[in-house]
Amino acid sequence: MSVILKTDKLRVEFKSREFRQSPKVALSGLDLEVGTGEVFGFLGPNGAGKTTTINVLLGFVQPTSGAAALFGIDVRQPIARQRIGYLPEMTYYYKFLSAEELLRFYAKIFGLPRNETDKRIAQLLKLVELEHASKRQIKTYSKGMQQRVGLAQALINNPDLLVLDEPTSGLDPVGRMKVREIIQRLKNEGKTVFFASHELGEVETVCDRVAIISEGELKAIGRVSEIVAQHPSLEKAFLEVIGYKPQLA
């Protein structure tokens, strides 16, 4: 199994706007390795640094120190993003385009040939069940539909690595189930999925391995089965790892 995503002593500091305030450390010394074909869950409380990690992986944020690589290529090079699909945390897309036009636009950036693009768009619209709305402008979509457009655009280039930031937020139970099925299907095709989530149940069912971070530091990493074996449940494990003490006796 080869390593497809790797971070090495990653540290990210955000300079604070106020004068003479110490910078905010969002990540410190984060080491992660994700192998080909894995579904990797990335957990942590709000503000733990999950989105920041993903932003570094996509080259949006420059690490203060340390390095990150995808497919063995430093993330600062655009070519490292050729084989990945990305779904941001909160997404909106060009409101004045239809889902089909949006997908076509992204396909052009990836340089997909025309006939392949047509096939791919038809497949994806079917997968996320937006065929009936594919010609409507995105501004007329519901939130769940927009989230599904996001999933479709993340898959347009048939990526080998999928980076998802809370893919099921804002979806109804059926929508969540669908996303889970899609992840499962991608896994069966041998793709790698790296996703941040707060849905522990979902993580437990689809992930091979998980990492739990808190305040920018890696607190635990390992196979889901191992972590669950040591604790009553993944939720208990999560709360213990991040050091949560019950408020009520």
Partner: protein, 259 residues
């Protein structure tokens, strides 16, 4: 290149799917038609006056369209968070800037074609003449001048946070150049040092988009064509300014954090 054209395509689509552009366009046309229908003495002077006003209106409208469209591009990408999925694709930030520029510039080119065809029709209805080459010379320099304005606005949209303040600044700057840019050297002559050197420096540094602006006279007064060599040189001069602004924009954007 393919990426740049794909980006430009989205900009153009946005422009023709928004309503504010049509409002401005139709407003300009309606005002011009009303003015043209005011048939007072039908003497030469009046026709000239009308042509002058129409061209001025076309210049103002095209500048407003160019500046507002461009000023909004990158701030909107940021605000609506479309920048993240876009930059997650294998494209460089330089390509993004060039794509946005090309989109705005081509869109303005299309707008100008509409304006000048309409103007030609309006003038022909009164004068029964189609001085096509004069129109072409005026329109091509007009388009080049808009290119400079667009590149400048794009740079401004990366420097100033709010699109509205950026549009205002760009509009005031362009209006100043159009009105007084030409006279700055004369002004400088009347002043003492060190102000004189400062004004001279300004005179040589600012992009002289007023040369295309003065091309209106070519049409209004039925002047003979300008030499093509001069037109070519002016195009090169304006292209150089576009390049300078775009390089600066790329440098600024490269350093900019995404969120």
């Amino acid at each position: 290149m393919r990426t740049i054209f794909a980006l430009a395509g989205v900009v153009i689509k946005e422009l023709y799917r928004r309503k504010d552009f049509y409002v401005l366009f139709i407003l300009t046309i309606v005002i011009c038609v009303i003015m043209a229908s005011v048939n007072i003495f039908n003497d030469n002077q009046i026709v000239r006056y009308l042509k002058e006003l129409c061209l001025l209106l076309i210049w103002i409208s095209s500048l407003v369209i160019a500046i507002t469209t461009t000023a909004r591009q990158i701030p909107a990408e940021r605000e609506q968070r479309t920048l993240l999925p876009l930059l997650a694709k294998p494209l460089t930030r330089t390509q993004l800037i060039l794509g946005k520029f090309l989109g705005c510039w081509l869109a303005c080119g299309l707008v100008l074609i509409c304006f000048y065809v309409f103007f030609g029709a309006l003038a022909a209805s009164r004068e029964h003449a189609w001085p096509l080459l004069s129109y072409f010379q005026a329109a091509i320099l007009h388009w080049m001048a808009l290119g400079v304005v667009i590149a400048m606005t794009l740079l401004g949209s990366l420097v100033f946070a709010a699109p509205s303040s950026n549009s205002t600044i760009c509009f005031v700057l362009v209006a100043t150049i159009l009105c007084v840019g030409r006279y700055l050297d004369a002004v400088a002559l009347t002043l003492g040092e060190p102000l004189r050197s400062v004004i001279y420096a300004f005179y040589y540094a600012i992009p002289h988009v007023e040369i295309p602006f003065e091309m209106r006279n070519l049409i209004v007064h039925d002047w003979p064509l300008i030499g093509w060599k001069f037109i070519g040189l002016d195009i090169l001069y304006l292209l150089a300014y576009m390049a300078i602004f775009l390089v600066a924009a790329c440098l600024v954007f490269r350093r900019k954090p995404v969120n």
